[in-house]
Symmetry: C2
Subunit: 338 residues, 2 copies
Amino acid sequence: MKATVLYGPGDVRYESVDDPKIIRPTDAIIKLSATCICGSDLWPYRGLQPKDGPAHMGHEYCGVVIEVGSAVRTIRPGQFVVGSFCLSDNTCPHCKFGFQSSCEQREFMSGAQAPYARVALADGTLVATREMPGRDLIPHLLATSDVLGTGWYAADAANVKQGSVVAVVGDGAVGLMGVLAAKEMGAERIIAMSRHKTRQNLAREFGATDIVVERGLEGIARVKELTRGVGADSVLECVGTQEAMSQALECTRPGGTIGYVGVPHGVTFDGQALFFGQRRMLGGPAPVRRFLPDLMDRVLNGRIQPGKVFDLTLPIDQVAEGYKAMDQRRAIKTMLTV
Amino acid sequence: MKATVLYGPGDVRYESVDDPKIIRPTDAIIKLSATCICGSDLWPYRGLQPKDGPAHMGHEYCGVVIEVGSAVRTIRPGQFVVGSFCLSDNTCPHCKFGFQSSCEQREFMSGAQAPYARVALADGTLVATREMPGRDLIPHLLATSDVLGTGWYAADAANVKQGSVVAVVGDGAVGLMGVLAAKEMGAERIIAMSRHKTRQNLAREFGATDIVVERGLEGIARVKELTRGVGADSVLECVGTQEAMSQALECTRPGGTIGYVGVPHGVTFDGQALFFGQRRMLGGPAPVRRFLPDLMDRVLNGRIQPGKVFDLTLPIDQVAEGYKAMDQRRAIKTMLTV
């Protein structure tokens, strides 16, 4: 088959590779219904995260199981499944605590920007639907695999509750999903920080009540102003830069919480500043598996439509253009049809 | 009157100073029943936290109100009161959220190692008892002012609950109070990290179920071993050094929480390491005022005896010896009688 391989900064190719096959008895092979490009794929694409040699890209996926290993017990060929970008056994103590992204057997998914993919730890990782979903639901189900699951975790980690005042730093796809998650969790006020009209519109559609276009110190001042000088109860940091993290910290009220899901690049914290700032923090790779059954239900019930975050859809052989469009911020997020 | 003044590293004097007086209409003057030396007083005493000129020391206090300013409404002369080391109005939004240590009007108490002291924001800061407590209760009530309140906050911030597995890093007075707090909050297992026999004994008396004498990597390995490789649900960091913080982070399970109350000195965090470690963190100066009524009730009811943490009592004119004994770790915590 052909698949997506990143050779170096800006160099994405759709080229022939070996077909995926069962390597361990706990594996499954799926035929993808659709796949997509993640904001985090842009770090290596931009050369900001060196890779050793060519990398098989893609970690967001849903599709139909076509083969399972001999030790797979609950997942069966023919099922439609969604899985997290974190592969987990869902039985170890960390998984039991709901932190499947720290599973003792954790692996990170790769190679999903392709027509077929191998999913390790299939029983722990994959969640099957009862019926084959309609084509119209595929973008929304695909979104649960990472981008919605990650935005959801940002809101969960940031302790969003009924009536919370929330700010979201980052208007990428994850930030927009954070807005949706905060809305679903009952936030009373959701301040989205965004300078881009199309993203502002989508944020409003997902539930943002206020838009802050300012950044840095001005952005912080504006959030403070909107919260009567107090700061937000919960701030979702969905970027991963020092600037975004500082903004998140300053927009949170003392005793409030920051959920940070942007993979930090060059971010450091001064202990004494954190101490006197008195903000609660939780971040990390999202334990999407914890939320997946619930998120899939919300999609299948038609309650949420997270797939609206895909504003560009391309056939997978144009994957290179999909990266380019996201890199140039022409697209929020690219879905790839297979 | 005479009071305690720190002139420089190791140079504590008990010498004549002006009597405290009402400066603002919200002030009160109290006659101290007892006072004490805090572990945090040792930072400047050891020269690890430079001071500009001589400093009036002491921020833990309880005693009888002898005068109040014209704007004080609820506190009256003759009342026995305890206050936090953080002075707060208890009415601003941060106070309402229970983070009085980030009060919009926050000041830090000073000058309490003396027979009389001025307390700013008296109505917000001070909690009065209904009756004059007996002499035997004074050490326990004094402890609620900071050392117990801070240990309590460490456990609260670390999310200790019924059935939690807890580890406490630091066997100073605050760490020992953290053990007591975790016990009161229903922790099932409390691992105290201590190499000192007298502190181990006190930790056990306060509720520790396990003692870990190892430090650094060996200490972490031992905590992991005691928690079946998982790590603790809640870790109380009660020191403030990089070593202690790293130990706390590594002893916590993913998704678990670190409550850090040791004022960080030279502590930094790498964003990516924190992210992938996936630990929840909350620290800061303890909002003791939030807990004070409850803690005082527990003392007055005889349920807890936090004053046992004072293993040296000196008349206040021997305050210099009190500092020396703590600096040399001959004493856990020194109470000063006035």
